[in-house]
Amino acid sequence: MRSKSRSLLMRRVALHAALTPLAIIWLFPLWMMFVFSTMSDYGIFSPDIVLWPSTGFIENFQNLQADTDFLRAMFISITVAVIYTILSVMLTSMAGWALARYHFKGRSVVIAIILGTITLPFAVVVIPQFIMVAREFKLANTWVALIVPPLFNSLGVLFMRQAFSMMPTELFDAARVEGVKEWRIFLHIALPLARPTMAALSIILFLASWNNYLWPLLINSKPGMMTAPVALGTLIGLTKVSWGGIMAGAVLLTAPILFVFIFLQRHFISGITAGAVK
């Protein structure tokens, strides 16, 4: 008995000894981002190894805010990301449901569209798309242009399709026998069951929107309509770079998402389980 618990203890120690350094390496860049955001540029470029935060965050943030209206950009980013996430989860759920649960003419075409668009680099579509949205639809500098075109998200549809197709058919057949309409089955039976997947997808979509760079950069040229990554991008490569300021912006850009992730971790994990595991 003693030797068994002892070997268990040894294994526990070995496990943590392996995982802890790995976790430290993984957190290190994020920690340094935070440390840099509290330092003056002189501190950042001093020859000493500095691993501990200093006290300059507020000052760095003030520099950042003076260079670009970062708080407003954060507000725009949050608004766009929230609306986008809600709409996108709705759209991808509906499409995923249709693909998981019905046979219909042209199903293979729809699947081909979804798979084909995943592998196509966005950079090539962006110019014709910009031309179309700006010139034909006259939508440049609108919230619609910022939110609607990215709603097409094939990975999200695949994700939701997977979740729905894993649900037992009997569940829905029973409802159908009772004459429940299809959209009610979707809304009242399927969606509640898919909640974990939707939660996980929401995080991914929110992230995608929050970090989206090229499209918002091109489509919005009005002052005060910049999203946060675009605003931060204007500062990199400057002649007079305030690295502390950029880092303060990076921290502000990252911290809210990390915060949300801490609280939704459980949902997220179970959602990915539902999406990826057959």
């Binding site: 001093s46 950069l217 091109l218 040229s221 204007t234 990199i236 002649t239």
Partner: protein, 424 residues
């Protein structure tokens, strides 16, 4: 851009000069960091003259202005502001691909007399077949910015550095006496600035000045590349990207930087605590009697075809770029070197600059302007530059037997990419 446009302009000009024109208009400009700040510095003087024109300068960052202008031009101009800042070497790309995106300034009152206010080498890329797409703004006469204290400690007198060989020898001395310091830095990682500066000094470039053939493998270019490798192999130039250079300036890890004169503002505002320690001397040449003058960078202002306030926009461009008042205020505040010839005679230019150890740096730098040879960016600048950078990296890694073979290969690759012939 035919008669219809001209007619409209004329009638608008007539309207604008009439007494009923006291309406307030607002114009918008896209620019980036120091350039944007410099434009803002002219607004006070401009609004004294034209109180009814409100100017909004948007500081978007260099790459972003390019990307956004490109996308907007591709969309027929939708989304462009009234005025766009365009770097000279990228300029021809715009006129070539989107000839209708920017307006012909000559139709707005950019007269031959005004055109003659600027040096020839600044106008080659901006005017095509009589159409002036943009007005020259600043230029980048190349100079060596150096740390007086580091040179002095090594007993190096910068006035004796006339050739790159002198520079190399001086570098060895400076580095010996100042451990941890390098003589100069070059962005061998992501840029080609040393080759462009030194080859321009030798009258060579990626393309011929008429833009019709590839000249990158001409003897002067070969000699340039050869010399750069010599200096790199001797260890007096080390590789550093843009922000590493700025970091090195502040930290005192470099004894000199060779760059266009606009770098003055970068050093001054980037390392304010080093006032008095920096100085400037003219760039060395391959031979002692070489020209010791070259240009790197510089920008221009263009007015978009979709602008609804072209006249107001032109008034601003005219004030900022063709008057000494406008250009000198940008020189003072942010070190942007006027390409306006008359601005060179402004009293400010002769003033001693405290930051630069009381040296009259602008007199020294601007006196090289007349000796600068034109260099053509052409619409294929980006292609050629991409090829050159790859070849340079391979050559430095000893992937070619000599500079000639390297640049022959570069010429061949540029030929494939552009379809232009290689010059004999």
């Amino acid at each position: 851009m035919g008669y219809r446009f001209l007619g409209a302009t004329v009638s608008l000009v007539l309207l604008a000069t009439g007494p009923a024109a006291a309406q307030s208009t607002e114009i918008t400009i896209w620019s980036w960091n120091v350039a944007a700040s410099a434009l803002k510095s002219t607004l006070e003087g401009f609004n004294k003259k034209y109180p009814d024109i409100k100017v909004a300068v948007q500081d978007l960052g260099n790459d972003q202005v390019f990307d956004k202008s490109l996308a907007a031009c591709a969309a027929g101009g939708d989304g462009l502001p009234d005025i766009v800042t365009i770097e000279n070497f990228e300029a021809e790309l715009f006129w070539n691909r989107f000839p209708d995106c920017f307006t012909d300034l000559t139709a707005l009152g950019y007269t031959p007399k005004q055109q003659a206010l600027f040096p020839e080498f600044k106008r080659t890329e901006l005017e095509i077949d009589g159409t002036a797409y943009a007005m020259p703004w600043d230029s980048g006469p190349v100079a060596v910015f150096y740390r007086r204290d580091f040179y002095e400690k090594a007993g190096v007198d910068p006035t004796t550095i006339k050739t790159w060989d002198d520079f190399l020898a001086a570098g060895k001395k400076v580095m010996e006496v100042n451990p941890g310091t390098v003589m100069a830095q070059a962005d061998f990682n992501g840029d080609s600035e040393w080759f462009r500066m030194l080859s321009n000094e030798q009258g060579c470039g990626y393309f011929s000045t008429d833009g019709q053939s590839i000249t990158i493998n001409q003897p002067a270019c070969v000699a340039t590349l050869d010399k750069i490798k010599q200096m790199k192999d001797a260890g007096i130039i080390t590789a550093a990207i843009w922000d590493e250079k700025i970091q090195a300036n502040t930290a005192g890890r470099t004894a000199s930087q060779v760059f266009g004169a606009w770098y003055e503002g970068t050093i001054r505002s980037g390392s304010p605590d080093l006032a008095g320690k920096w100085g400037v001397y003219p760039m060395p040449s391959l031979t002692a009697d070489g020209p010791r003058a070259a240009n790197l960078g510089g920008s221009s202002l263009a007015i978009s075809e979709v602008s609804e306030n072209k006249e107001a926009a032109f008034k601003f461009v005219e004030y900022a770029l063709t008057t000494n008042e406008g250009q000198v205020s940008m020189l003072k505040s942010f070190g942007l070197v006027p390409s306006l010839l008359s601005a060179i005679e402004d009293p400010f230019v002769k003033e001693k600059q405290a930051y630069w150890g009381d040296q009259a740096v602008w007199t020294d730098i601007l006196s090289t302007l007349p000796k600068i040879k034109p260099a053509r960016g052409t619409a294929f600048q980006a292609d050629a530059d991409g090829v050159y950078k790859a070849v340079q990296a391979k050559y430095f890694a000893n992937g070619y037997p000599d500079a000639k073979t390297a640049l022959d290969d570069a010429a061949k690759q540029i030929e494939t990419a552009t379809g232009l012939p290689i010059a004999e």
